[in-house]
Amino acid sequence: MPLDTSTYNLALLRVDGRRWNELRRVHAQIRTQAAADGSSYLEMGHTKVMCVVTGPSEPGPRRGTGGGGAGGAGAGGAAEVVVSIVIAGFSSVDRKRHGRGDKRTLELQSTVANALAASLHIHLFPHSQVNISLHVLSQDGSLLAALINAAALACVDAGIPMTDYVAACTAGSTSTYAANDEGADPLLDLNHQEEQELPGLTVATLGESDRVVVLVCESRVQVSRLEGMLAVGVDGCKQVREILDRVVREKGRRMVQEGTVEKGIGLNEMDVD
């Protein structure tokens, strides 16, 4: 069923009742697995992802190139970021088996690994490896964005130094490529149905800056629409960053209050002398 664009024009509401510039509900948790170095759980709408980070630790025995790993950086003096993604068979509407060597999964792995390797200060950990294991529990569009966000949160939890959060989200356009509609509006955070029918892109930025670290567009779209989509996407990334930051701060505040972590000094006290 094609997306009823006429309805959108009447009420300016999307199929799930959102406006063009609204994100879906984002729910995130960190430190979900006590035994792991870092872990997180992230929901963007109905896309649900779990992440576990191990390391930086001594790299295990070298695997063959056919394995599920994706190197973020060379071993020369810096840690290697290895991402493995498991997509559960029950995650989407039609039950599907995703093999280890699935080309789509491999591409997701290398995109996430490269995005995080750009932000993590891996040069501080030579001869070691950061293992990021992602499990997709439910898919409803914006999968790559959810994977990047979950991995970034888990890396913060693992205490791996990084330049800033890598926050990602998707952006699309209200009419299809074939419609060639000049006046099409950009959309923020596509769900599965929109992703199927409308042109869309995934964008990830480094923290609050406008620096784009990931930009993936797998559909045909007129170049005139691209700028608007990108602007909406970058703005969405900033909103996502705020949400992720709030989750970390909340957890940190609770830990300090409970006395798990010693209190820090405030800037006020610091600037007194």
Binding site: L12, A34, V248, M255, V261, G266
Partner: protein, 367 residues
């Protein structure tokens, strides 16, 4: 129909920091929602600027619970030096946090202690480790750090005298001292520039571990781990006829709890007087033969039960976010013994998970 830019609607209730509310100069950008398609993006920043923070008088209690997160600019004043957990963006003087954690200051040095991180070795640390690899002249030891630590053959007490040069025979028999999977307690002797550690066990305090149980708690980075303290190893009297129990708290978050075994010198005096007469060389030999034995001594059921109870105390401390040190473990143990006394099963009740763990933690916090 053209798009109407709608009034901003926060996607979630914004719970502002008290600093922001108080700051008059707080930018009004957060009032603007949506996107300007001219490429001029409104910066919806909720991070208060440094100046705003300095101008306002915040209550110390709320500020003290605040943490810094990656990408947060700590200060742009060039008088400060950056320490661990921070970085300086090229072409600016702003010191930015790179981890989520609490800030510490040593004179002019600013550093951020992460909420949790892997153990970073320091010279002199007492660590508990597990051998993972045996090489020609050294062992590789897992100490929970970013890299495996190495233990050279020359840095252990070789049999037949404490101070002896290592020989080729020792190299050939390297597995008789430590084999893969063996646990040991050691001290960090030296650090490499890349963060790798070299261990040594050249003291009778250190060496192979047996007669006990291993517990791994998260490291020093936080999360209620083991803290560096004056005493990391102690012997305590266990309740309910458990005898003496040794506890080793490795700084790396690995803990060893074992039955206390008399040191061979003392053992030689008490058990067999004939051996005591054999002289000092014989004693040293007996030291070395027992030192690398992987055979457990006989452990009474009572001792096992009390060791298990101590283990339960350590995991309960970690689960409830309390620090693990001698004081807490000893007090926690006595508390646990009391709790077992009043329970229906009596001293055999060693369960300290879930609600009972919380009860224990509450008792320790209250005391």
């Amino acid at each position: 129909m053209p798009i109407t830019i709608l009034a901003p609607r926060p996607s979630r209730p914004t719970r502002k920091h008290p600093q922001e509310d108080a700051s008059v100069t707080s930018d009004t950008d957060s009032e603007a929602g949506g996107v300007d398609l001219d490429g001029d993006l409104p910066m919806t920043t909720t991070r208060p600027s440094k100046r705003a923070r300095l101008n306002t008088t915040t209550t110390q209690s709320t500020a003290a619970f605040e943490i810094v997160t990656p990408g947060e600019i700590i200060t742009d004043d060039p008088q400060w030096m950056r320490g661990h957990g921070t970085y300086v963006t090229p072409s600016t003087t702003a010191i930015t946090s790179s981890v989520a954690g609490t800030m510490t200051r040593t004179n002019k040095l600013l550093s951020v202690r992460p909420l949790r991180a892997r153990y970073t070795p320091e010279v002199g640390d007492l660590v508990v480790g597990r051998i993972v690899e045996v090489q020609a002249k050294r062992w590789r030891v897992d100490v929970g750090s970013t890299q495996l630590a190495s233990l050279p053959l020359s840095a252990i007490n070789l049999p037949g005298g404490i101070l002896r040069k290592r020989t080729e025979t020792d190299e050939l028999q390297i597995r008789t001292f430590f084999a893969e999977g063996d646990l040991l307690v050691a001290e960090v002797q030296q650090l490499f520039a890349d963060g790798g550690a070299v261990l040594h066990t050249r003291s009778l305090k250190y060496g192979k571990l047996r007669n006990g149980v291993f517990v791994a708690v998260s490291g020093t980075g936080g999360g209620g781990g083991v803290v560096r303290s004056r005493r990391q190893v102690w012997t305590m009297e266990a309740a309910n006829g458990g005898g003496l129990v040794d506890v080793v708290l490795g700084v790396n978050g690995y803990v060893w709890i074992s039955k206390h075994v008399e040191t061979p010198e003392a053992g030689a005096d008490s058990s067999s007087s004939s051996k005591a007469a054999a002289g000092i060389t014989n004693m040293e030999e007996s030291v070395s033969t027992t030192m690398y034995s992987s055979q457990n001594d006989r452990i009474e059921v009572e001792a096992m039960r009390e060791i298990a109870r101590l283990r339960g105390v350590v995991t309960a401390l970690v689960e409830n976010g309390l620090r693990v040190d001698e004081d807490m473990v000893v007090r926690g143990y006595h508390e646990a013994v009391e709790m077992a006394m009043v329970s229906a099963e009596g001293p055999d009740d060693i369960y300290l998970g879930g609600e009972r763990g919380q009860q224990l933690a509450a008792a320790l916090r209250g005391a």
